[in-house]
Every structure is written in structure tokens, then in C-alpha cells.
């Protein structure tokens, strides 16, 4: 017991890989989560996570890189939402609801063409962090570098567009183009996180750490840092829990993230009423 609780699982290479992968996707999704939370895009994030689903299946069936299929499928979802919501009788929320369920259904139909598809479907929907390979980790690393470098380059413009799109456009920022870049980065981040935590819950990994961080600070820099700390640390703690308790990892991460959100939320409420 004691310190061994921390080190015992590390003798297994699948646990080493799982921890590295969780730290990478935890950082990536929680930085992206800051934008999802600040722009009230939780529902769009959810839609994108399911929007990339048929693309992933199709890439899997056609044996091409899953990122390609996922990104194309994510972009189709975003364009579909913006086209449908142009009619004032279908709001952006309604359009989003139509698109993401349709894309999820399309993905399920596609994968059902494979014999014994249920095992594949389950692993895609629920994820399996313990099955992560070095290839998965390399892909996550590449995507992290692309996403974080792009965010760093466009940071100020993204903040201006998020806060005040009219002003952004008045100083010559192309708001629509920047939005598309942001959706593209969201799609990329979601895709690499799916093998580990599954399609159903992947958005939680983005939203909850950022929402918790938002509760604790009024500054954007500290919000990003806190979000990354929550996104990685709590996920790794959850991984240890599932190692000892033998429960589903993805769902445990989400529950622990939600638990921490509740703690911060309650402390803040208590602090206010005191």
C-alpha cells in the first residue's frame, strides 16, 4: 500500500500509454473546451463529436486515415447546420439537433454493414483507453501540436471574434473564416480523443474542465491553465480509480470531472452566501 498505489499500475505498458494519452488529450480537449464554454458552443461541440462519427466509420471501412474522414464529415455537419438554420423557421439549435442525430444514425448504419459490428461499435461509442497504441499517441501528439500552434497564432483574433464579432468584422477580421478554423480545430481534437474515451462522452472532456475553470477565475489566461490542470489531473486520477475498481474508464473520467465541477460550484455558492 502507500506510495505503491501510484507506482504499481505503472509497471504495465498499457497503463503507461494510457496515462500519456490521457495527459495529451486532456490538455488538448480542455483548451478547446475554453472556446466551447466561452462561446456557448456546448451543443455544437456535441453535434461535431457525432458529426465526425460516420466519417470515422467510413475511413475504417475504406482503410484510410480516420482523421481525413472525420474532418470531412465534421465540416459537412457544420455546413449543414449553417444552411438549414438560414431558414428562420429552423433555428440553429433545431438544425444542430437534426444534423447530429442524422450523422450518428448514418455512422451506425455504415458500421452495421460489417459482420459482428457490435464490438467495434461499442469500442467506438465508449472508447477504451487501455487499448491505446503508440500509433494513437503519435497521432494525438501531432494533432495537439497543430491545434495548439494554430490557437497560439490566432489567439487574439479568436478572442475578439468570440467576444465581439461586430467589432472583429469592423477591424477587418474575417469572422466566418475564423469560425470555420475553430470548428475544424474542435473536430480534430474530438477525433483523436474518441478512441480513448468514446464518441458518446468525448464532449464532456472538453466542456466540464473548462466550465469548472470558468467558475474559479475571471481571467482568460488562468482559465486556460486551470482547465488544462483539471482536464489532465482528474482524468489521470480517474484512470487509477478504474484500475483498482475495474469500472469503465471514459465514464469514470466524466463522473470525476462532474464531481469536481460540483465541488467548485458548491464552494463558490457557499462563499457567496456566507
Amino acid at each position: 500500500m502507500g506510495i505503491n498505489i501510484l507506482f504499481e499500475p505503472l509497471q504495465y505498458s498499457f497503463m503507461q500509454r494510457a496515462i500519456i494519452e490521457l495527459i495529451l488529450i486532456g490538455s488538448l480537449t480542455s483548451i478547446i473546451g475554453v472556446f466551447l464554454v466561452l462561446r456557448n458552443l456546448a451543443f455544437l461541440g456535441e453535434a461535431l463529436s457525432h458529426g465526425v462519427f460516420p466519417g470515422i466509420i467510413l475511413s475504417f471501412l475504406l482503410k484510410v486515415n480516420l482523421l481525413v474522414g472525420a474532418v470531412v464529415s465534421g465540416i459537412i455537419t457544420v455546413i449543414g447546420i449553417s444552411l438549414i438554420s438560414r431558414d428562420r423557421k429552423t433555428s440553429a439549435n433545431t438544425a444542430t439537433g437534426i444534423l447530429f442525430t442524422t450523422m450518428l444514425a448514418l455512422g451506425i448504419v455504415l458500421i452495421s454493414t460489417v459482420r459482428n459490428y457490435k464490438a467495434d461499435l461499442t469500442s467506438l461509442l465508449l472508447g477504451d483507453i487501455l487499448a491505446v497504441t503508440w500509433n494513437d499517441i503519435a497521432l494525438t501528439l501531432i494533432v495537439s501540436v497543430i491545434v495548439i500552434a494554430t490557437l497560439r497564432l490566432l489567439w487574439k483574433k479568436l478572442i475578439i471574434v468570440s467576444f465581439d464579432p461586430s467589432f472583429a468584422s469592423s477591424i477587418g477580421i474575417n469572422v466566418a473564416r475564423l469560425d470555420m478554423i475553430l470548428y475544424f480545430l474542435i473536430s480534430l481534437s474530438i477525433v483523436v480523443a474518441i478512441p480513448a474515451v468514446g464518441n458518446l462522452l468525448v464532449v464532456a472532456l472538453s466542456i466540464i474542465p473548462a466550465a469548472t475553470a470558468r467558475l474559479s477565475t475571471n481571467r482568460i489566461g488562468p482559465m486556460v491553465i486551470l482547465s488544462v490542470i483539471y482536464g489532465t489531473l482528474i482524468s489521470v486520477i480517474a484512470l487509477y480509480l478504474t484500475y483498482y475498481l475495474q469500472v469503465a474508464t471514459g465514464a469514470t473520467i466524466v463522473l470525476l470531472q462532474a464531481g469536481w465541477f460540483l465541488v467548485v460550484f458548491s464552494l463558490k455558492r457557499l462563499g457567496k452566501s456566507a
Binding site: 467576444f163 465581439d164 461586430s166 468584422s169 469592423s170 481571467r219 482559465m223
Partner: protein, 274 residues
Amino acid sequence: MTTNRNLKSLQINLDKAFYDTAVALQDIDFELEAGDILTVIGPNGSGKSTLLKCLGGMLNYTGTISAEFSVVDHSLAAEKADHKTDWQELLKQLPRRELFSYMPQRENTDLNFPLTIRELIQMASDTRHPPQAGLLEEILKELDLQPLLDKAINQVSGGQLQRAFLARTLLIDAPLILLDEPDNAIDITTQQQFAQVLRQQSAQGKICILSTHDLNFAQITSNKTLFLNKTQISFGATSTECNEKNLLKTFGPKLIHTHQDEHIIIQSGHQHGH
């Protein structure tokens, strides 16, 4: 590089202006000269914001807007001495900040966004177009913003926040200043402060166009007034145009004057204008 591109005059001759696909404004014809401060007065949905957005290149219109510069600027292909240049051409040729600055209606911004006053004002700064030395300090001093710089935008009063939005607009240092309801949520003292700051801008030869519901603000701020209700009702010197006849024609017989601190406010609901 700092440009001293001052407007000598601005001719606005709109046939129709479109918001989405609907005609929001038609038959507008007036001219402004260097140093003019124009107030645009009209009920909600009368086209005040549309007019400002046409000048900001954010909406489509038929008709012409043309500008004449006081200094011949050889960097402009389309410009010849004492010749009028089409505004749309200018918007294509020059960075927007060299033509106009724009303060959007604050309803379009998320006032809980994690930003400090400093970060809000710095949105206007651009490393490729650094402001004139000392300009920022001067603006901060005039608008009493120095002590508020490190406060979060949700920690300051409505009037203080509006001062920060005005500072952001002025930091762009453009020859044309467009302000959409800048007097929203400010008290009479701040109104007077705004009027004084805008008069200083006009003394430098800049043209200001602002929309408001508040006759008192129009009278203390501007030398010209445009009454608007989907079309041009009247245009001329503020001292002569702010009369009962124009008010009735613009707002209809339901117009209510409330005398609050010797203050005439036009009660016309609280929805956003187009």
C-alpha cells in the same frame, strides 16, 4: 507607419440598404464635412444600425457613398486630387482601421466574458499599425480609465464599461468614427464626458456618426442631426432640426417625452434596432 488620412467630406447617397434580404433603409441623402458630429435619431428598427453598418462595409446597399480626402494620398490607386473616391472601393483597398472605427451596440457582447478592461481596450491595437505614441495614455486619461485597467469587465459599472468601449474605438484613430448607441447605460456626467471627448476628435478633423434615442445627448454632442425612420425624415443643423415637427414625423403621435433630470428621452421600447 501612421497615416494622416483625414476626410474632407463624406457623401452618403443610399438608394436601398439591406439587412439580411429585407430592405431596412431607403432614400438616404446627406453630406458631412471634416469635423462634423452627426447624431442619427430614430425609433428601434428605423435603420440607425443599418446605416452605420453600411458605412462599416458590413451590409450591402445600392446607391453610393463617396469620400474626399484633405490630403492627396498617392497610395490610393483610385484617388486623384480633389476627387471623390467610392467608399466601397476604399474598403477593398485599405485596412479598415485607416478608414473608420466602430463601436457596436453592447447588447451583442457577452458581458460576463473573462476579460479585463485592459484586454478589452487592447483589442484595438495591431502590431502592424501601432497607434501614435502617447495616444493610449491620452485616451485613458480623458476617459478616467487608468484605475480600472486590471478590473474584469463584469466588475465595473455600465458607464465605466461603456467608457472602455469608447476608448477601444478611439485607439483605432480612424478618420471616421461610428458609434452605435454609445450613450447606452451611461449617466448625464458620462454623457457630458463623451460629448467632450467626441468634440476633441472633431477638432482634429475627424467625422463622428452616432446613433441614439436621447435628444439631450444629441443636443450636447452633435452639430448635425439626421432623423430616420426607414427613410430620411430630415437632416440639418442640430439646433434647428431637433423640433417638435421632426420628432412627430419620426416617432409618430405616441411619442412620449419624459423629463428626468431635465432630460428628454424617447420611449420606444427596448428591443434592438436594426
